[in-house]
């Protein structure tokens, strides 16, 4: 994970139109954007993430601020694009002609599935939370936003964000699947 100084330099480079600047920003923040969108937009996460980055590129000259503000701005865009993609996917589902049969996953995909298995499992547990708690936890834990930025992204008050985060974490702590993992881990470890 690059430092804030490195991100600031990348931001400046991207503003100048330097590909390497975009590469650093994308590498640093895309995984978090994608994970957040997997909770918000489920299967449409990849499309929503692409739309998010394209909009970032288009509007970058209008953005003023440092890496901290950029993070908040990025996730605000991600949230809107995620909601858009969910709506679009909903419309597609109503039209069965457009349904694409799932292809057989290749060897690479299988390896990747193992690599990100725990993350996928964790995201699956987050997705069981009420939407406001799930988003608050993702933005605080994965996106690394502070309470004020999270409140801005979600259009809520800070107090509401803190309570949603707390309730989300509490619910996860009591989730039988999560508890089961803990028992497995400790018994394996001993």
């Amino acid at each position: 994970m690059p430092t804030d100084d490195e991100l600031a330099a990348a931001l400046a480079a991207a503003r100048r139109g330097d590909e390497r600047g975009f590469a650093v920003l994308w590498r640093a923040l895309h995984p978090a954007v994608l994970r957040y969108l997997r909770v918000v937009a489920a299967e449409a996460a990849e499309d929503a993430a692409s739309e998010t980055w394209l909009q970032v590129a288009r509007d970058l000259d209008r953005f003023t601020g440092g890496p901290g503000e950029f993070r908040g701005w990025l996730f605000r865009i991600a949230r809107h694009r995620g909601i858009d993609e969910v709506r679009r996917a909903g419309r597609r589902r109503e039209d069965p002609a457009e349904e694409v049969p799932p292809g057989t996953p290749g060897r690479d995909a299988a390896d990747e599935a193992i690599e990100g298995a725990e993350t996928t499992w964790a995201l699956g547990r987050i997705a069981t939370l009420p939407a406001d708690q799930a988003e608050a936890v993702m933005l605080r834990v994965v996106a690394g936003l502070d309470v004020a930025q999270t409140a801005q992204v979600l259009g809520k008050r800070r107090g509401a964000v803190r309570i949603a985060t707390m309730r989300g974490l509490r619910r996860l702590a009591l989730d039988p699947q999560v508890r089961d993992r803990a028992v497995k881990e400790t018994s394996e470890g001993v």
Binding site: A57, E115, G116, A122
Partner: protein, 258 residues
């Protein structure tokens, strides 16, 4: 047994209120929740796990696409967001007033032109149809073609013969309108004359002279107009009702001056 302990621990840790929120902040910041909540620690670690190769696939292509998108946006889309021109309030006020003034003048001017019968024939006809009650005359087809001659020559034979229905159709070029133009002219004259007789808008001096010439004398006008079948509904031209008549008289002011 261990599960029950863990549950109890969790219940104790996650009491509602400020302590719960502080605990949440601590966990979000990367703090450990302790042995009782190892599952939650594991879940949060998994959420924060380093990017997988799948998540970072296509970095180069993506960077190139983003740089291109940024370039094209800078070329084509910048004016969209920034084109808002700041116009000072004073300037805006002036522009709006001038525009309003011009609109009033053009509408007013058209009204005056209609009142004096100075509009092009088509427009004049329409204005007449709409506002004849206000004294807007019908188009003057005959005299406009010959220009100032009828007024200059007075009761000379050639201009007077044109408007009368008995005149030959040769002076009016459009074949389809051979009968209509003199009739329209006579109707316009007679309408204006009757309106003036009823106390409405006074008749244009030149028109009055032309009408008298066409009728064969000022005394013949009444009969002439009666023969042409023109009548003015008395309701539309009440006999000199103070304000109403002055109102109607305004457009005709240029008339008496001539």
């Amino acid at each position: 047994m261990r599960l029950a302990d863990a549950l109890l621990h969790a219940m104790r840790t996650w009491r509602a209120g400020r302590s719960g929120q502080d605990e949440a902040d601590r966990l979000v910041a990367g703090g450990r929740s302790g042995p009782g909540d190892a599952g939650l620690d594991h879940l949060l670690d998994a959420l924060r796990a380093p990017a997988t190769t799948g998540e970072l696939r296509g970095e180069r292509e993506m960077a190139a696409v983003l740089a291109a998108e940024h370039r094209s946006a800078a070329l084509y889309e910048r004016p969209k967001g920034r084109v808002r021109v700041q116009v000072p309030r004073a300037t805006r006020t002036i522009v709006v007033s001038v525009a309003t003034g011009l609109a009033v003048l053009s509408v007013g001017g058209t009204a005056v032109a209609a009142g004096t019968g100075a509009l092009p024939a088509g427009l004049q006809q329409r204005a007449h149809r709409l506002f004849s009650a206000l004294g807007v005359p019908a188009p003057r087809t005959g005299p406009t073609a010959t220009g100032p001659t009828p007024g200059d020559r007075g009761s000379a034979a050639s201009p007077t013969s044109k408007p009368t229905p008995t005149a030959l159709p040769t002076p009016t070029p459009p074949a389809t309108a051979t009968v209509a133009p003199p009739t329209a002219q006579v109707v316009a004259w007679c309408t204006a004359w009757l309106t003036a007789e009823n106390g409405g808008k006074p008749m244009n001096g030149r028109d009055r002279k032309d009408l008298a010439a066409a009728a064969g004398g000022a005394d013949e006008v009444a009969d002439f107009c009666a023969r042409s079948g023109v009548s003015v509904a008395p309701t539309t031209t009440p006999a000199k009702p103070g304000r109403g008549s002055t109102h109607r008289a305004t457009p005709s002011h240029p008339g008496p001056k001539k």
